[in-house]
């Protein structure tokens, strides 16, 4: 039973892949936009920060589920 719990928790945390790829793509867009128009740095910065926080949320959901699996399944 312990191994199945471990495998389940491990699969739950795989949502981190989506967050990593998403934030990477967002940063790519932001850096290109800044390179094209350096005066808009403030707005681009804010949009990037917001996008990263939202994308990170899905990875956090996976983490919370993994913690719940480990702690509440015996």
């Amino acid at each position: 039973m312990g191994t199945i719990i471990a495998i389940g928790a491990g699969i739950a945390v795989l949502t981190g892949i989506g967050a990593g790829i998403g934030i990477g793509l967002a940063t790519k867009g932001a850096v290109e936009a800044i390179a094209r128009q350096p005066e808009a740095k403030g707005d681009i910065n804010k949009a990037l920060l917001l996008g990263c926080a939202l994308a990170e949320a899905t990875a956090i959901y996976g983490f919370v589920i993994a913690v719940l699996i480990i702690l509440f399944l015996k």
Binding site: L49, L50, A53, A57, I60, Y61, F63, V64, I70
Partner: protein, 229 residues
Amino acid sequence: MEELSTELISQLGSKISFVIPIFGGIPVPTSVAITWGIMAFVVLFSLIFVRNLKMVPTGPQLYIEAAVSGLNNFLKDILGEEGKRYFPYLGTVTLYIGCSNLIGIFGFTPPTKDLNVTAGLAIMSILLIEISGIKAKGLKKWIIGFSHPMPLITPINILEIFIRPLSLCMRLFGNVLGSFVVMELIKIVAPAIIPVAFSLYFDIFDGLIQAYVFVFLTALFMQEAMETY
């Protein structure tokens, strides 16, 4: 490892701090007691700094005015002029979430680590979003607004009323719980100086960003509800 997992399980639930001995004992959870502390601190802070206000600001009044006008401008960008009556509530929520995420540095458990606190904040947000929509558009237009881009999406729009606050709540709770767990693990591995550097990212940076994101998303949803087509 056993003690670590049992301690983590105990941290997930909410602990009772003390019992008020009236009406047969009202249990007061720790998060409520710490919230009272934050309230006292913020009220004292405001009372001290609004004494002797001058027309031409000098000294600490400059910083306070800069902070308040920064917050108002940021909210005005999203909500526009009609949303001015909601700025005080949103500013207070920012202050509260920011303080409660940062209080982990001083050794208390942050009240937002309790799922009930974040759920309460999310329920307040959902009430605010729906009420602002009804106030701006009137009851009939608000109900018709559910079928707005296409009548086919109406069930999804209705579901969104419940899904958005759920995601707000879980995002805040998950971030605070995650940084707490990681800090505990780091303290087990290296209890000396290293936790300070990590705490700078996890507690401070992450906490402030989560406060900003919570308020920004609430304001964004409110603006979306208040939009008259």
